[in-house]
């Protein structure tokens, strides 16, 4: 037995990417709450782009779409255990 740290088989650190740019999605639809749910946390708050990897351009559009979906009661403003 050695005191050397054993190599940890971690998965390679994959680089974050913007899913909109990768899949060429140009329009973020506020009428699709299931899709928007990917950008929210359990409480219904919008996740920052440092976590989702969304580009600035699309983060703005996501935020707008989420706010519109909230207005028309497709998404809640506050929630508990949304997912």
């Amino acid at each position: 037995m050695t005191l050397m740290n054993e190599p940890v088989n971690r998965q390679e650190n994959r680089k974050k990417y913007c899913r909109f740019q990768k899949h060429r999605i140009k329009y973020v639809d506020y009428k699709d709450p299931d899709f928007l749910l990917k950008f929210l946390n359990e409480q219904g708050k919008i996740l920052p782009r440092r976590i989702t990897g969304t580009s600035l351009k699309f983060q703005k559009r996501v935020a707008k779409a989420v706010k519109r979906a909230r207005q028309i009661a497709l998404l809640p403003y506050v929630a508990d255990g949304l997912k």
Binding site: D29, K31, I72, A73, L74
Partner: protein, 122 residues
Amino acid sequence: MKVKNYEAVFIISPVLSEEQIKEAVDKFSSLLKDSGADVYHSEDWGLRKLAYPIEKKSTGFYQLFEFKASPEVIAKFELELKRDERVLRFLTVSLDKYGVEYNERRRNGLGKKSETKTEEVA
């Protein structure tokens, strides 16, 4: 004035009968048509659960209109929606070229499929 593409979603009170809902929807679509708008698509989402209660109601009938109109029509349309007690909430959005394209695909039932497919890959 330049004609733009719009879409409007509104929630009708669930306490009404089906006939009354139909009447309300007809009222708004005829209002748009009379003021010179071209309503090229309307969609009935049926009774849906609201994400939070509005006017102490937890469900509502959703109706979607897609239309081409000049901006002056919107003010008139929204005023009428505000005045109507049967309408719980409404949202009118002007569409850019990507929005129009997306709605076209959505109507054909392709938009959603391709999007979910791509998401699975992600």
